[in-house]
Subunit: 724 residues, 2 copies
């Protein structure tokens, strides 16, 4: 779940977005990256720990997501006694694939593709026929003709890549202002992509590496006939559910199979595929993850990291924790709402888990000292070079100054921001209605109006729950801005936050979809409406525009500085440092290895025995339930077979479904998650206890053979017996 | 392992004692409770976190180790809807037993006694016959006549108890000075014990509760014919070894059976025994642990806790970590030394694990704030009562002032202290030799001399390893006292700590047992010896006496203040608060319940499936190996049977072997450990994630039946089928 491409990013947008208005209104708050301020609601933040200046950065603190342009062959040789040949590199690159939100790979000569169960969720639902629920019950195509084409699904194969840095940077250099330069660069990128795509008859994309230190042209062959072959039942494919997500020891058969067909409608014979290693990897074996990590933030400066640690996370964790508590209590009181709310609950709870893990990474004194030490060395190198000093020497201070400005604005941004799962839908929908009315009055084109209408009509508001959320939101606002703030004072009007919230939601037409439709039909009345929610948002709107109008340029300036910093990094370290993740193909080396955990050691792999232990230890629980065919272990299933395993490879969201391969290029595992200790990987690669979690190759064959009787698939992927 | 009576205390004494000299010399350093100072060796301690003054103490922060004099019946009723009758209380008290270092209980009408495997280690070794290794291979007496009497083993049953506070405190009140009072009290205690033991024909002991707030007379019936009936193989009785010690999820059959025989040599028919619950407890069930918790430190003041957190633990953890590293590296370089050193290694490593857990408890801002909040409320109550105010109001400041004095002395105490596992044996043995020579010159009686001789002759010193340890010790001393300190300067004599250590150990006769024997034979030469180790210790001795001569009265004063504080606590809260543990019988209530762990949930119980998972996941490892009869699961063994379980009961070292009983007084489990989160229990009972770990009653029966075929035992304890 963790590693579905950009999952954590996309999950954040709805959580923190200002509903649907963001992309329409001229002064709409930006949907992403809402900053956060310290909240007096939470425990006072502890004094920042002293930084131990004797700590040195780790060699790979910036990560191991190596590009295929610059794999560190000398390091591989020194570390593993193994220098991948060009053939090896081309082979694993071509055998690896990119799904729209995951990684996958060819695993047979007949176009069979493997990825995760959680990457096939939408596909299983999409190909379910009336009366079927393949996501829950699983699917196996007994015959080739039973395979089901997944509408709109495609996979991309990276068939060519080359450096276009010189061309793009030359275009960039021509601009007079920063805006000119960005525009010139973007024009050039589009030009290169168009030209190269036409020439190569491929989908060519310029990938910005090192935030603009390098530009690489990646050309993909797209396969658009992708059919579902096998997906296990959700209960085994997502065993442990949201509880076990991001954790290890783990017992999850998170696998799915697709098949790519060629233009003639026959199974594709791919240029390259991974042959299967049944015995798989053992503890201590070097392994390589070939996949598409989504994004990381390892370039953040000390000032930015401190802001996150001391301000952003405390507020976010408070916000998530508060709303989770409200949602949980509400579902307990009203069990009939559980089916409707449980997904929101788990989305918040998983985001809370992920952020807690990231925050703990920043609170870890040694990890933080390593980040600071890296920055110290990096800065020293910049300062020692006159040209770099002139160009980049002021960046750290500029970024720190920006963060100070943002910190001042943050209470208003956090208190006034509307929309998303964590804030009142009554207020957010009222805001959409006001914007719609404004746009209609200004004669906006119907295409824009229609989207805005949809965002108003599609809201489904539970007034009791929404009043509780609004109560907490007003409480937060009152603490962030003080009870004397004009908007807080207007909202409260002398009432307690909860009483005010109940009066606003209860007195408003907004929660009622029929009355809302009526209001949409009379947009002219919105400007004078006395509805408490509409009036409150109408009074807020100018201030909202003013606050976000100040905030957005700060964000843009910070982004520009980050780009400059990345170029400085590249100037100092070149390709010896791997670039931040960009959802493009990378090769990450590592070793299969257990780790210290829970006062003891987590083993390098788990077994089917552990699956049955976790199941039997949680009787009656939905999350550790087993599908019928699994409930009694089939007699032929060898329970001691490795099920999941851990390795030190550097991964992040987007790596879901990545093949894990050994030095021989054989498939030994299938990445599906990271452990809880890997969450600081957003900022730093720390292999002490952070681990990639993968399904072991032996488990997949064992289950296909003895649980699913999937003979056809087994024959297709089974390794040939060793020749004598 | 954790919970063997006083294990953590007894483990500490050899670690930190000043060899055997402590109890002989007039100015010998005290063996227990060596204080610690901050060490510049470790990372600079982070700034103490701000204390959140809005935190309130938990209702049971001081624990739930209730006495049988004052079980909180109203609370039990309110919490569990269950009021134990007097009969119930007497029954569980009589069925519970105390071993010399553990708890046990009667589990049949024929005197069968159950405890832990780890409480039966010495017994298994003691009854092994030539060629047998019952500790490793286990033991089962097929017939009654096969049961083997364990030499010197006894169990005590608490048959009577009454309050003697008035009598003891009256004696105490007569004293003129503090020393008088203590002497008068101790005389009275001995008098009461003698009188009551004679009257009741029992072993009566006055137990000091609330550090003197209450005195209770506990009279025990002692059974001295105790025979070993069953002990499983060490590999299953201590499955997971030192790694899994103090942890959960756990898969350990930590059980043993003895039988008590009466004076006629026939199996005893005890007054009370626990009948067996085969189905055992389920998640959410209230359960009661009847056992003998060894000791806790829950009365420590904020100043004392801060000292531990900021000074004592950082140094202790450094010391343990440094020596562990030396020992580990040495065993790796010299694998042949492993059998000799591995027990020391694990003793240090387990102590490190325990202290790390305790330290983390103190670093947990919420737990610390709860301790502070408790103290605030307690202090406020004392100050509000004029009599209490006069008597006790100054205690907190007095204790804080003492800790400030101790902090000043601590570097010298830590740097100069000698002996134990963590310091050079060459120096410690040289010190013993000097003291022996002194005592001999002063004409000490031969009884004293003979013990001192033994402590010199019994030392076995590995000079290479000892020089490394001495090197680290001199490095620590140099950092604690500065290189200009006279003793440090003499020891180093311009050399590096490691070079100096090699010269001292290499140049000394002390490591050589034959030469040591020669020196013992000529005690008159010791005073003028030029042996580098002897000379160094001879020069140190006056200073050692001076430093510990200052330190010991501070400790005594602190102890006296702690007693006063406990009396103040008792005056304010009476028996609503349970007293600190005293290795006497307590009843601790709790609930079978999983907990948040590792980003997910630890289940309320594990199963035999998990045992096989942990075994199969760690192939080739000694710690997770299984005995031959377990390696292939016997076909009749139901793998989904609960194996270990967790409950919220408050336990500590000494509770090993405690019965876990349900409301019906039936046996549902057997305590054998606490999880890693329970380690802060030294200071505070925090049931959020701290748990008692027990073997589930169903697992014991299942294993006896289907793995051991122990029909005779099963018939004896098997619950009768329900009558219709």
């Amino acid at each position: 779940m963790t590693l579905r491409s950009q999952l954590r990013l996309t999950a954040l947008v709805p959580l923190f977005a200002v509903a649907a208005c963001a992309s329409h209104g001229p002064a709409a708050p930006t949907p992403a990256a809402v900053p956060a301020a310290p909240t007096p609601v939470a425990t006072p933040a502890p004094a920042p720990p002293a930084i131990d200046t004797t700590v040195q950065p780790g060699r790979f603190d910036m990560g191991k997501m190596w590009t295929f342009e610059n794999p560190p062959l000398d390091y591989f040789k020194a570390e593993y006694g193994f220098t991948p040949s060009q053939d090896w590199l081309v082979h694993v690159r071509l055998a690896a694939l990119r799904l729209p939100n995951c990684t996958a790979s060819f695993v047979s000569a007949n176009g069979l593709v493997m990825s995760n169960h959680h990457c096939a969720r939408e596909s299983a639902t999409a190909v379910s026929r009336p009366g079927e629920d393949l996501l829950t019950n699983g699917f196996y195509a007994e015959r080739l003709t039973d395979e089901r084409r997944v509408p709109d699904l495609y996979v991309d194969e990276l068939v060519a890549l080359h450096d276009v840095t010189a061309e793009v940077q030359a275009a960039e250099a021509g601009g007079q202002s920063e805006a000119d330069r960005i525009a010139a660069r973007d024009r050039k990128i589009r030009e290169v992509e168009g030209r190269e795509s036409a020439t190569a008859r491929l989908r060519c994309e310029v990938t910005t590496l090192y935030h603009g230190g390098r530009y690489s042209l990646y050309c993909y062959r797209r396969y658009s006939d992708v059919r579902l072959v096998f997906v296990p039942e959700k209960a085994i494919g997502y065993f442990g559910g949201d509880y076990d997500n991001f954790t290890y020891p783990r017992y999850d058969l998170d696998v799915s199979f697709f098949r790519v067909y060629d233009d003639s409608g026959a199974p594709l014979h791919p240029e390259a595929y991974f042959s299967w290693s049944e015995s798989g990897a053992h503890e201590g074996d070097p392994v390589f993850v070939i996949g598409n990590p989504g994004s990381t933030s390892r370039l953040l400066t000390q000032a930015q990291l401190e802001y996150r640690r001391d301000r952003q996370y405390p507020f976010l964790l408070h916000l998530l924790g508060s709303r989770l508590q409200i949602l949980g209590a509400y579902m307990n009181e009203h069990p009939e709402t559980r089916p409707r709310l449980i997904n929101d609950y788990f989305e918040i709870s998983n985001t809370l888990k992920a952020f807690t893990g990231e925050e703990e990474g920043l609170r870890n004194a040694t990890l933080f000292a390593r980040k600071v030490a890296f920055e110290r060395n990096f800065k020293r190198a910049v300062m020692a070079n006159p040209a770099l000093h002139d160009q980049y020497g002021g960046l750290w201070d500029q970024i720190a100054a920006l963060r100070t400005q943002i910190a001042e604005l943050a209470p208003a941004v956090n208190a006034l921001n509307q929309g998303g799962l964590l804030r009142s839908q009554t207020l957010a929908t009222a805001l959409s209605l006001i914007r719609y009315a404004e746009a209609a009055a200004q004669g906006a084109p119907d295409s824009a109006l229609s989207d805005m209408r949809t965002s108003v009509t599609s809201a489904r508001i539970d007034p009791v729950l929404d009043a509780r959320i609004l109560g907490a939101q007003l409480e937060d606002a009152s603490q962030l801005l003080g009870p004397g703030d004009p908007w807080v004072a207007e909202a409260l009007s002398g009432r307690s936050p909860q009483a005010a919230a109940e009066a606003i939601v209860g007195g408003s037409l907004v929660p009622d979809s029929a009355r809302r439709a009526g209001a949409l039909a009379q947009p002219g009345d919105v400007a004078t409406s006395t509805d408490p929610a509409i009036r409150l948002m109408r009074d807020l709107l100018p201030r909202l525009r003013q606050v976000f109008g100040r905030y957005r340029p700060m964000q843009e300036e910070e982004e520009a500085h980050t780009g400059e910093l990345a170029r400085a990094l590249f100037a100092v370290y070149g390709t010896t440092i791997a670039p931040d993740a960009t959802f493009t193909l990378r090769i990450a080396d590592g070793v299969v290895r257990g780790y210290d955990y829970n006062g003891t050691q987590a083993p390098a792999f788990t077994t089917f025995y552990g699956l049955y232990d976790r199941h039997a230890s949680n009787p009656g629980s939905e999350d550790w339930a087993l599908p019928p065919r699994w409930q009694t272990p089939p007699p032929a299933l060898v329970l001691g077979t490795p099920l999941d395993m851990v390795a030190t490879n550097d991964i992040i969201g987007g790596n879901s479904g990545s093949p894990v391969v050994d030095k021989a290029g054989r498939l030994v595992g299938l990445v599906f998650d990271g452990n809880i200790e890997s969450l600081p990987g957003e900022f730093i690669y720390a292999a002490e206890t952070g681990r990639t979690v993968a399904v072991h190759s032996a488990a997949i064959l064992e289950a296909l053979r003895h649980v699913y009787g999937a003979r056809r698939l087994v024959d297709e992927i089974e390794p040939a017996p060793p020749t004598r």
